[in-house]
């Protein structure tokens, strides 16, 4: 017969101080782990949702990022006339020759200067990125030294409001608008006219990349292969979604360090939980013996104490998750090895993260609780009663 759970709950309540301190210890470990997991979830979101499955990114063969070199602009008309490209209202193919360069901007909070991507694009480049929506001001005018800034840039850097002037490359650039692409990597970019950008960075007559919007995903795949197969071009096509998927790897360091930190803290907390549970068993040795005499079997004593440890860690998990909630949505940046610039992402609490945290805490409770529970179940009745 099983011992009712209310017995465990009452016991936890009886020794409040001990319970609270142990649970807080577990909570801190859970908070740290959740923090790291939420960071990774946010990072994944920023990159996974970036890119459109019908957009094909064309770069020079061998290039791994838009930043690395470019190809001659004379190839652009050839690319533009490839079959399978969607047309705009005027019947013009949706193709945009672009440049991505990196500039240094000062952070708003004064924590230093950071590399930021500036993208030069053609007007069609805006049409083929329907996810980017203007939230303030207007788009840049071709031929003008104007830029629109992504939402994250607007939030995190000084001088990135509509009407401000940003100083980079060969002079001042007027900020004329703010756009939002829903937390994707684009939100960490500044956009301007491709010719203006190329002129400022001495890169006229070439493009780093060309974006083509296909009519549908199947056509996009065909387009990608057509670009690669054309021997005259010496270019390579990638689906935009594939391109961003690759960049998620920049979270590798966080993931590794996060795992190490979480595991070490969890080991420490398991020992602490074990301590508390051993104390609980020691305090109650007479009680356990009495339970045995009444007729509760060894397995039910074992189960009862394991459940008590699990309850303790569950309490810790809940406190830990609650502690992290105020930070949900807080954003931070991460440098990207491929683009050399910062992509902003936010701490993203998901049900998955919360569930993982609970399981993580329960494992700690199990590790800490099993040995003491085993000890309790094996106690000799007579010795315990006499103690």
């Amino acid at each position: 017969m099983a011992i009712p759970i209310s017995y465990n709950i009452r016991n936890l309540k009886l020794r409040k101080g001990l319970t609270i301190m142990t649970a807080l210890g577990i909570a801190l470990t859970v908070t740290t782990a959740v923090f790291l997991m939420a960071l990774l979830a946010g990072l994944k979101k920023a990159f996974m949702s970036s890119g459109d499955p019908v957009n094909v990114l064309v770069m020079r063969k061998g290039s791994v990022a838009e930043l690395s070199g470019g190809f001659d602009a004379s190839l652009f008309p050839t690319l533009k006339t490839l079959p399978g490209i969607a047309k705009d209202g005027q019947g013009e193919p949706l193709a945009s020759g672009e440049w991505v360069v990196v500039v240094v901007l000062p952070r708003k909070d004064g924590t230093g200067e950071v590399n930021v991507s500036v993208r030069g694009l053609m007007p069609a480049g805006l049409t083929l990125r329907p996810s980017a929506k203007l939230v303030e001001g207007r788009w840049f005018t071709p031929g003008q030294r104007e830029v629109v800034v992504g939402q994250s840039i607007h939030n995190r850097f000084s001088g990135a409001n509509v009407g401000d002037n940003l100083d980079f490359a060969k002079g001042q650039w007027k900020v004329v608008g703010v756009f939002d692409s829903g937390g994707t990597a684009y939100d960490s970019e500044l956009w301007g006219d491709v010719n203006q950008i190329a002129a400022d960075f001495d890169r006229q007559g070439a493009f780093a990349s060309v974006y083509l919007r296909a009519t549908d995903p199947v056509a996009a795949d065909a387009l990608k292969h057509r670009v690669a197969d054309d021997q005259r071009l010496k270019l390579e096509g990638t689906l935009e979604t594939e391109y961003y998927e690759k960049q998620t790897s920049s979270g590798g360091v966080i993931k590794f360090i996060g795992t190490v930190v979480a595991v070490i803290m969890a080991i420490g907390s398991s020992f602490a939980a074990m301590n508390t549970m051993y104390a609980a068993v020691a305090y109650r040795s007479k009680e356990i013996a009495t339970l045995r005499i009444i007729g509760f079997s060894r397995p039910s004593i074992l189960t009862s104490f394991v459940i008590e440890a699990l309850l303790l860690s569950l309490l810790g998990a809940i406190v830990g998750i609650v502690l992290i909630l105020p930070f949900n949505g807080m954003s931070t940046g991460i440098g990207n090895q491929l683009t050399f610039s910062e992509t902003v992402f936010s701490l993203h609490m998901t049900w998955g993260v919360a569930m993982t945290a609970v399981i993580f805490a329960l494992v700690m409770g199990l590790l800490g609780g099993f040995a003491p529970a085993w000890h309790a179940a094996r106690q000799d009745i007579l010795t315990s009663l006499r103690a």
């Binding site: 001990l18 301190m21 803290m265 602490a272 051993y278 440098g335």
Partner: protein, 384 residues
């Protein structure tokens, strides 16, 4: 029985509990020490003496812009400049592409001067001469050579990503750096001859100054020289240049600090918990000690000493494990250059030990205080 022996005896009277507490503190302090080591390396360590004498110049706009190579000769005229070598990041791929463990730095440079600038990189004279005579030759870091099993005379291929050229290089020399640099140097002429847009351009310049004191003056001098040119420069110390990469990984400072804070607080909880349990158990014992004539102060000291002893044991073990872990991480394959050459330094050790002692002290204060002011009769009556 001496007081020390008494403290030691009582600290470990409940062996299982003491060991569990020590282990719990060990793991927390292990994490804390590793975090502090990273902090020390990035934000405290000024780099070795020779590094403090070097500067790196890049294009003012960003690292991805190149500068004309003739800047080098102009830089020589700045007072305090001893030597200048151009360096161009190649960013090529080696073998299994995209695998992080196959990543290493590749720089195109001038074989005649790079080792004059990198004074602490040692290479045998004959190997240096052999490299200078072979335009398709390269020299590699000794640690890198060990990792890939490279020998002099081996050929390696680097597939260009920034520059549309694949370099076929012959290893002519192996140099030893004070800290593993995971770098391969080759002759920039190779790239310049193969790629038209690379001709006469360089991504960065490494400068050797007269003395570390001259570094700020040289930086200001170089930047002033090109201030009004179409391609202005930004010159900073080697350490500052490296730090800008770390900063680009996000707010590392806040990240480390918050983890340290959580760890210390968690340790405090664990230790306080143990002390509370252990002192409560001995309520009667305290009453007996008092009857024997122990004063409040001496009882307070006994318990605090006990707690500090447990915490210090955990702290010391944690430090030792941390030293081992840091070395393991530094040598682990695929870790990139994040932990390279990292070691737990003496100040970090001392700080970690100090933190653990403080944790022991703080966690004992409340329960020990209660024990010290315990009423003897009440204590003797206590049945737990």
């Amino acid at each position: 029985m001496t007081i020390t022996r008494f403290v030691t005896k009582s600290a470990f009277r409940n062996k299982r509990r003491s060991i569990l507490t020590v282990l719990s503190i060990t793991f927390s302090l292990l994490l804390l020490t590793v975090m502090m080591t990273v902090w020390h390396r990035f934000y405290v360590d000024k780099g070795d003496a020779q590094s403090a004498q070097r500067l790196i110049t890049r294009h003012r706009v960003s690292l991805t812009q190149n500068m004309p190579v003739y800047y080098r000769e102009k830089m020589r005229t700045v007072p305090g400049v001893v030597a200048v070598a151009p360096t161009q990041w190649f960013g090529g791929l080696y073998k299994d592409e995209g695998k992080p463990e196959n990543f290493f730095a590749q720089f195109g440079t001038d074989p005649a001067e790079i080792f004059t600038v990198m004074t602490d990189f040692k290479i045998p004279d004959d190997q240096l001469a052999a490299w200078q005579h072979d335009q398709a030759g390269c020299v590699v870091d000794s640690e890198l050579a060990k990792k890939f099993g490279w020998k002099i005379g081996d050929r390696i291929t680097l597939r260009g990503t920034i520059f549309p050229v694949n370099l076929e290089l012959t290893i002519r020399g192996i140099f030893v750096a004070p800290q593993p640099s995971i770098t391969v140097y080759f002759n920039q002429k190779y790239v310049e001859e193969a790629v038209s847009f690379a001709k006469g351009r360089s991504g960065t310049f490494n400068i050797l100054a007269d003395s570390p004191e001259d570094v700020p003056k040289v930086a200001a001098g170089v930047d002033a020289m090109f201030h009004n040119s179409p391609e202005p420069t930004k010159t900073e110390s080697e350490k500052a240049f490296q730090l800008s990469f770390i900063n680009s990984m996000g707010n590392v400072k806040a990240f480390i600090l918050s983890i340290c804070f959580a760890v210390v607080f968690a340790t405090l909880l664990v230790s306080a918990n143990t002390m509370a349990m252990s002192i409560r158990e001995r309520t009667r014992e305290v009453a007996v000690l008092k009857t024997l004539g122990f004063t409040r102060q001496s009882i307070l000291r006994l318990y605090i000493g006990e707690s500090v002893l447990v915490a210090l044991t955990g702290g010391a073990l944690g430090c030792l494990l941390a030293a081992g872990l840091v070395i393991a991480l530094a040598n682990a394959p695929g870790m990139g250059f994040f932990f390279l050459g990292m070691r737990v330094t003496t100040p970090t050790f001392l700080l970690a030990i100090f933190v653990s002692a403080m944790v022991g002290l703080l966690s004992a204060i409340v329960p020990a205080y209660h024990a010290a002011k315990l009423d003897i009769v009440e204590g003797l009556r206590y049945i737990g």
